[in-house]
């Protein structure tokens, strides 16, 4: 569990993001501590993906400040964020189907070795690391040059997560990693999140599933129409309360009789 | 009429990138300057003759005092030219076409060198110089007019055209190597005809490369820097000069004088074929590609 007395590793202050006429974020603040799993919840279109994209350097916030390890940061590109130690597994997978698993694993972070003063790709290392890491996650590849397009959705998700973990992120952002996964794959991902958090990594976890959130989350921040509805700490909030908040505080369509309360 | 008000338009069938027509542009520009009249040059960008017909119609609509045009395809162009004539615009046919066709469309006269006839003359001359089996390098196979030269040449030699006309494309290295390949596959070829600088220049390079320069009979249409050098060093036997300068210059002069003073030469002007050989090359050399 997070040690709340430490300083937060990343602080987002009053982030706003406008896309032309659309106001996606209207001032969202949030901080994440090392070793904590901070769940980001909220309705469709609440702005969760947009928010973590400003965190990972994909979007530049229209307004607001990002403070990383105590210093104000201004990420120009995803590279900057990655170099600072923020790894992101995006909602729409950041995998290239036609490329091999090894090349995907190291995409943007390719290992190099110098030959005659020139940086060459260290393919043997890349292959070996990939095979090892995938085996650790329980996926036996046919070979490191197998194309990602031949993997199942769950397997791809696993590649993306293990890649992020491998590169020693200080902050790991997961955008709905479990939404398309089967029960078994989901529990694998949740176990990984738990393990990573214990190693002191700060995790930002986005989900629509209250139970998944309750399973690994230390704190829960709910977004609604581009604004925060507040942050709750684990143990201080019941799943039902959380579910109500996630629905934007609005009354939900209820199923009558025996079906009620099982969503 | 005030002198500067006369305006003539020259319409050609050549695509934008065809270098030979440059001399024509220079010719009308010079004539325009000397005669004090306004001249314009127009052509279909891709060399599509159907597009050229539209340009003639366009020229007629802009009501110039005269139109100078080639007759690249009688079928296509006769209608628009006749319409222009009927509208009261004087027309002179230049370059391609024949005197008869010019008369038929109602043009004042014809200035130029009928393509087929020029090819025929070349073929007859080449036959006299011992050519029996030939290669015709056609860099503009899609343009019907220049191909006529190959046909004439074959008829002049008295042989079948058959496979002798090569679709060479315009890339110099490809032309050069296609010629080399053809010559190597057909060792009995003893005469080459090229249809202009675009095909002649790489062919010269090809013959220098395989050592047949000066050995094989080589005639070409039109002139250019490399061709002049080729004639000088004996690679090329002769260049057929149809004197494009005259084809452009004369019509402007004739039309101006016709409009100003009502005088007109009594006959068509054959600007070619003239065979340019190693004798008397100095002027050709100086102005090749510009006025020659």
């Amino acid at each position: 569990m997070a040690d709340q007395s430490k300083t937060p590793i990343i602080q987002m202050k009053n982030i706003e993001k406008h896309f032309g006429a659309v106001i996606a974020l209207a001032g969202v603040s949030l901080d994440v501590f090392p070793g904590e799993c901070h769940c980001l919840l909220g309705d469709n279109g609440a702005g969760k993906s947009t928010f973590i994209k400003t965190m990972s350097g994909v979007h530049k916030p229209t307004k607001g400040e990002i403070i990383f390890e105590g210093r104000p940061m201004d990420f120009e590109t995803p590279r900057d964020a990655m170099d600072a130690g923020i790894a992101t597994v995006h909602q729409h997978l950041a995998m290239i189907p036609l490329m091999s698993v090894a090349r995907n694993f190291f995409m943007g972070n390719e290992p190099v070795k110098k030959i005659a003063g020139i940086n060459f790709l260290d393919q043997t290392k890349a292959d070996q690391v990939t095979m090892d890491e995938m085996r650790k996650m329980g996926i036996n590849l046919r070979g490191p040059d197998q194309a990602v397009g031949t993997l199942s959705g769950g397997e791809r998700q696993t590649v993306a997560i293990s890649r992020a973990v491998y590169f020693g992120a200080k902050v790991l952002i997961l955008d709905e990693p479990t939404s398309a996964l089967g029960v078994r794959q989901t529990s694998n991902v949740l176990a990984t999140v738990d393990k990573v958090r214990k190693q002191g990594v700060a995790v930002v976890f986005i989900t629509h599933n209250v139970r998944h959130a309750m399973a690994v989350g230390d704190r829960f921040t709910v977004l609604n129409r581009g604004q925060t509805l507040g942050t709750a700490v684990r143990g201080e909030i019941s799943p039902d309360e959380l579910q109500d908040m996630m629905a934007g505080g609005q009354e939900m369509a209820t199923l009558e009789g025996s079906l009620g309360g099982t969503v | 009429a005030g002198h500067s008000e006369l305006k003539y338009v020259l319409v050609s069938h050549a695509p934008d990138s065809d270098s030979w027509w440059n001399t024509i542009k220079n010719g009308i520009a010079l004539a325009g300057e000397q005669m004090g009249v306004e001249v314009e040059y127009r052509n279909p960008p891709t060399g599509d003759i159907a597009d050229m017909a539209r340009i003639i119609e366009q020229a007629a609509a802009s009501a110039p005092d005269g139109i100078i045009t080639t007759l690249a395809d009688f079928d296509v162009l006769a209608g628009p030219i006749r319409a222009a004539v009927d509208q009261g615009i004087d027309v002179i046919i230049m370059n391609t076409g024949t005197p008869e066709q010019a008369r038929e469309v109602g043009a004042l006269m014809y200035v130029g060198q009928p393509e087929y006839d020029a090819g025929l003359a070349a073929g007859i001359r080449a036959k006299g110089e011992g050519v029996t089996n030939f290669l015709c390098v056609n860099h503009a196979i899609q343009q019907p007019t220049v191909g006529e030269r190959c046909r004439g040449y074959a008829d002049g030699l008295g042989v079948e055209l058959g496979n002798s006309m090569m679709d060479s494309g315009t890339d110099p290295a490809e032309i050069k190597n296609k010629v080399l390949a053809y010559l190597s596959a057909n060792p009995d070829v003893d005469g080459i005809l090229t249809l202009g600088p675009v095909s002649a220049d790489p062919t010269i390079a090809a013959l220098q490369e395989n050592g047949m320069a000066g050995d094989i009979h080589f005639g070409t249409f039109d002139l250019g820097e490399e061709i002049v050098n080729g004639i000088k060093d004996g690679t090329i036997a002769w260049g057929i000069d149809q004197q494009p300068f005259l084809q452009a210059y004369m019509p402007v002069v004739i039309l101006t004088n016709w409009d100003r003073y009502g005088v007109l030469p009594g006959n068509n002007i054959n600007s070619g074929p003239g065979f340019v050989t190693a004798n008397g090359l100095t002027k050709v050399e100086e102005f090749a590609g510009e006025y020659r």
Binding site: A26 | D16, I49, I55, Q58, G147
Partner: protein, 375 residues
């Protein structure tokens, strides 16, 4: 359903800035084309007014050129909206003309049979194009590029083998008095124009056999065909269920297929329609000019695509309008002929064309993003 979900709607609106209704009524796929057309006409009215560009003959001149572009642009437009495109249009024009010459002149068949058979052959080639594309899943760029070469090759080879030349004339004579030929050649409205000529509204010939006749003596069938194809294409696209399928096939062929749209059929039919348009173009051309040549139609595929893109269609499919494409063709035709009227150095035409193309697509992209909320 429960009532709770009703609150969804204000949700969406609340976070979007308002747009004036005037601005919204303006934003349509054809807007770029309309703006471009106005700009082009204003430009030439200012700089080439007294060059004859706007007398009856001048108007007829750029109208015909634009009509030519329109005929192929309609086909290219529908095909592009259906998500494919056809680089073999130009070669098809050359090929179709040559077929008419070969059948009608060399073999001497009656013209109406010749024309019907040529249409059948060309539409069949279009179908083959389409069939290969939908069956192999190859990009249409590659497949039709192959046909660009194949058809052009035959267009040169066939007449050369048969007749020793790359141009075959005498088609007008062969078509003399043929009923089908008259639908593609010829002009209509002669009486009206004669009246106008007599009334002095349009100029008359000053000499020659046609002295006294009006310089513009009718509307060429080319223009009639262009208008007919535009109307047909526009109605098909916007007013029929097949039109909806065209959009769907180009927007996302997998989704369309899952929804029950016969995507393969739609695409193949559009390839056939494109071939049909190219053949109409070729037939009108040979009927008017009387000869077929190996040089006909060069680069017309690009010109068609450019007209369509200037008209606001999306190269990747699923978006566009026939009216836009027609305006694109009009712009193209007016600029091309207008530069001649304005006396601009002809080699600069290409430079203008490139710049207009760039400007038009950038404008259209901006408009399209506003319409579709695309990101």
């Amino acid at each position: 359903m429960t009532d709770a979900s009703k609150t969804d709607a204000p949700d969406t609106d609340e976070r979007v800035k308002e747009m004036s209704s005037f601005r919204r009524s303006l934003i349509r796929p054809e807007l770029g084309g309309m703006v471009g057309t106005i700009a082009v006409f204003v430009f030439f009215l200012l700089f080439a007014f007294d060059s004859g560009m706007f007398n009856s003959q001048g108007v007829m001149n750029w109208s015909i050129v634009s009509a030519q572009f329109m005929i192929i642009a309609v086909g290219a437009c529908l095909l592009m909206i259906a998500g494919e495109f056809d680089l073999s249009v130009g070669s098809m024009i050359g090929f179709a003309g040559m077929m008419i010459a070969v059948f009608g002149v060399v073999l001497g068949w009656p013209m109406w049979i010749t024309i019907i058979i040529t249409f059948a052959i060309c539409i069949a080639i279009g179908a083959v194009n389409g069939y290969i594309v939908v069956k192999t899943g190859l990009p249409s760029f590659i497949v039709t590029l192959a046909f660009l070469f194949i058809l052009r090759g035959f267009t040169i080879y066939i007449p050369q083998t048969l007749e020793n030349k790359t141009i075959i004339g005498g088609i007008r004579d062969a078509a003399e008095g043929d009923w089908l030929g008259a639908i593609f050649g010829g002009k209509i409205g002669g009486g009206l124009f004669e009246m106008l000529g007599n009334a002095g509204v349009i100029a008359t010939f000053e000499r020659g056999s046609r002295m006294g006749e009006p310089v513009v003596d009718g509307i060429p069938m080319m223009i009639i065909w262009a208008i007919a194809l535009i109307v047909f294409g526009h109605v098909l696209l916007t007013k029929t269920r097949f039109g909806n399928w065209i959009f769907a096939a180009g927007g996302d062929s997998e989704a369309a297929r899952n929804s029950g749209v016969p995507v393969n059929r739609v695409k193949i039919l559009m390839f056939m329609f494109t071939a049909f348009c190219a053949t109409v173009f070729a037939t009108c051309q040979v009927m008017e000019f009387g000869s077929a040549g190996a040089d006909r139609g060069l680069l017309k595929e690009f010109e068609a695509i450019i007209a369509v893109v200037i008209g606001g269609a999306l190269l990747t499919g699923g978006y566009g309008s026939v009216l836009g494409a027609a305006l694109g063709a009009l712009i193209f035709g007016v600029v091309q002929q207008g530069l001649f009227f304005a006396g601009v150095e002809s080699s600069l035409f290409r430079v203008f064309l490139g710049l207009i193309l760039l400007g038009a697509v950038i404008l259209n992209t901006y408009i399209r993003r506003m319409i579709t909320g695309e990101r």
